[in-house]
Amino acid sequence: MNRLALSIILIFSAALALYVPIWMEEEEQVEVSDKDAALVPNYQALNLRSKIFDKDGQLTHQVSAAKMEHYDLLEYVNFEQPEYTIYLAETGESWQLVASEGTFYDNNRLELASDVVISSQQTNDYIQTISTDYISFSLDTQELSSDQPVAISGSNFTINSIGFSANLETQQYELKKHVETEYLPTR
């Protein structure tokens, strides 16, 4: 057996000695309980765009978001930078709701948080925008509500209040803790 063969055998056995323990090591089985499974998003989407239609084929709302995580078991969707556009069947009007974060659950309730801006897509609406840091919105009833400070503005006025409730379709607003309304002078 010449020296070459001997050195090959030596190297081979050293490698074996080194790796065998690693291979033998039992692959650690991560036990995932059902509860934890629910907390892991079923699927994620980046730069999502989706349109949702009702049974008569009417576009009810569309949503785009930088990131979306869908949790089947919890019936719960998490958004980053969501941008919702709501189309009101009765009036044919539409409103846009944007925020930094959003969650959509029970297939009907939308909660938006931080830098929430709701803006009418109709130029001659008297009330044009609603800005706050938290909104709860029901797609079924078009009811909007918040318990946070809110600014509701039109072309030459701004209403400040702590919390409010409103209906996007009837366009009626109730402010239980009105703080102040300011009408800007017109030039």
């Binding site: 008297y126 039109g154 072309s155 607003y173 009105h178 009408y183």
Partner: protein
């Protein structure tokens, strides 16, 4: 010479109240509970306020109701004009204050009472309608010279009274 300082009308209008109801379709806002409106030196206090925005931005009509609702504003010469009524309507674009129901307008020695009084700041006129039936309103020119004349006559009267008192002694 203006009797109401024009700068008042260039100020923003600030409205405070306990709660508010807005109807964007009807372009109307309702304010309730401790309602206060301020615009420069103009102040209106009332129980309720309705703001009608149908005439467009800057042409709102403010209708204050109370028991009574009250209005106060500083005149250009520094004195104050005050008013009280069941209803005070402030038409911003026309710069008029209309008082209805137990209406009273007071300015120094001047007091005007009637069922309805319209105070036109632009034309510096006060239209006082003492009772509903009489449709000929009494017009009082509420201008600086009339105010001055009233002050003079009051001063003269006071001086005459003093002189008379001295003569009697």
């Amino acid at each position: 010479q203006e009797i109401i300082q024009k700068s008042d009308f260039e100020q923003p209008i600030r409205l405070e109240s306990e709660n508010t109801f807005a109807d964007s379709k009807e372009k109307v806002l309702f304010y309730e509970g401790n309602v206060k409106i301020t615009q420069g030196s103009l102040k209106i206090s009332a129980d309720k306020m309705e703001v009608i925005g149908t005439n467009g931005a800057g042409r709102e009509i403010f209708i204050a109701t109370g028991k009574p609702a009250s209005y106060i504003q500083q005149l250009a010469d520094g004195s104050m004009v005050e008013a009280r009524a069941n209803e005070i309507k402030y038409i911003k674009a026309d710069r008029t204050i209309s008082l209805k129901g137990n209406a009273q307008l007071l300015q120094n020695a001047f007091t005007i009472e009637g069922d309805s009084i319209i105070f036109d700041m632009q034309k510096e006129q006060v239209l006082a309608n003492t009772n509903e039936k009489s449709n000929t309103p009494t017009v009082t020119i509420f201008s600086p010279d009339t105010i001055q004349k009233t002050k003079d006559t009051l001063k003269n009267k006071a001086e005459d009274a003093d002189k008379k008192q001295e003569d009697d002694q």
